[in-house]
């Protein structure tokens, strides 16, 4: 039986590292095209989680584009989001939807790089 969930349930879930450390949360969900095509596009699959503190500015993009201006905002937002990092899906042990906790196999975060390197649109 395939369970249905909503993206917004994933956002803000608490994250527990393999060594029991928690306090960080899911601030974004990285999707990647899967091998199967449905309609015009490949189906998207959750490929990883952006993890950090739920502070203002998660959607501003300064954690993804290190040189994004202006300087004054970049300094403030990057300081707020200095803990932000990334885990691949294979680093995820399991997602407890009821307790809203993501259990990880790893103890650390990888650096976050922009998902789409080219300026889309």
């Amino acid at each position: 039986m395939s369970a249905l969930h909503r993206m917004d349930d994933l956002l803000g879930m608490h994250v527990r590292f393999a060594d029991g450390v928690d306090g960080d949360r899911v601030t974004d969900v990285r999707l990647a095209p899967s091998s199967r095509v449905r309609g015009q596009l490949n189906e998207l699959v959750v490929d990883g989680l952006v993890i950090g503190r739920m502070r203002p500015g998660t959607l501003f993009g300064y954690d993804r584009h290190p040189d994004q201006g202006p300087w004054v905002i970049r300094k403030v937002i990057r300081a707020l989001h200095r803990h932000t990092g990334y885990v691949g899906w294979d680093d995820v042990d399991r997602v407890d939807w009821e307790a809203r906790i993501v259990h990880l196999r790893t103890t650390g975060l990888r650096d976050l790089t922009a998902a789409t390197d080219i300026g889309s649109g």
Binding site: R6, D8, R30, L31, A32, G39, L44, V45
Partner: protein
């Protein structure tokens, strides 16, 4: 479509256009299906107060959701199958027309009940 997408940064809360470029709604949420391989697949885009309400959380969220479900007579929000999506840019373009996705019950109600009654509503000002 570019390679990988960050859901909140590039998909959620984006404007959805039908294949004529007509605005049909926002990506108010995204439906994920947990399959046997344990992975979460995007199966549909969700639009309308039924999807947006819960995201407000708290009293506002419940009010929005319950009012919507009472007025629309539905409990599940409107869905746009992923197969209907043509491209993901700064907007989400659909491969189908707006009648197919039928996202906007409120729009149709307002058009038929109020706007159509006012003379000149069919005149193209262009």
């Amino acid at each position: 479509m570019s390679d990988r997408i960050d859901a909140y940064y590039e998909l959620m809360d984006r404007q959805i256009l039908d294949h004529d470029g007509r605005m049909v709604g926002k990506v108010d949420d995204v439906e994920l299906e947990e399959r046997d391989d344990g992975r979460l697949y995007v199966t549909a885009l969700l639009s309308g107060p039924g999807a947006l309400g819960p995201r407000f959380g708290g009293a506002l969220g419940t009010i929005v959701t319950s009012t919507w479900s009472r007025l629309s007579g539905r409990t599940e929000p409107a869905r746009v199958e992923w197969s209907a999506v043509a491209s993901v840019e700064t907007v989400i373009r659909l491969a189908v027309g707006r009648t197919t996705v039928a996202l906007d019950g409120f729009e149709t109600w307002m058009r038929d009940r109020v706007i159509a009654a006012i003379p000149g509503s069919k005149v193209d000002p262009g």
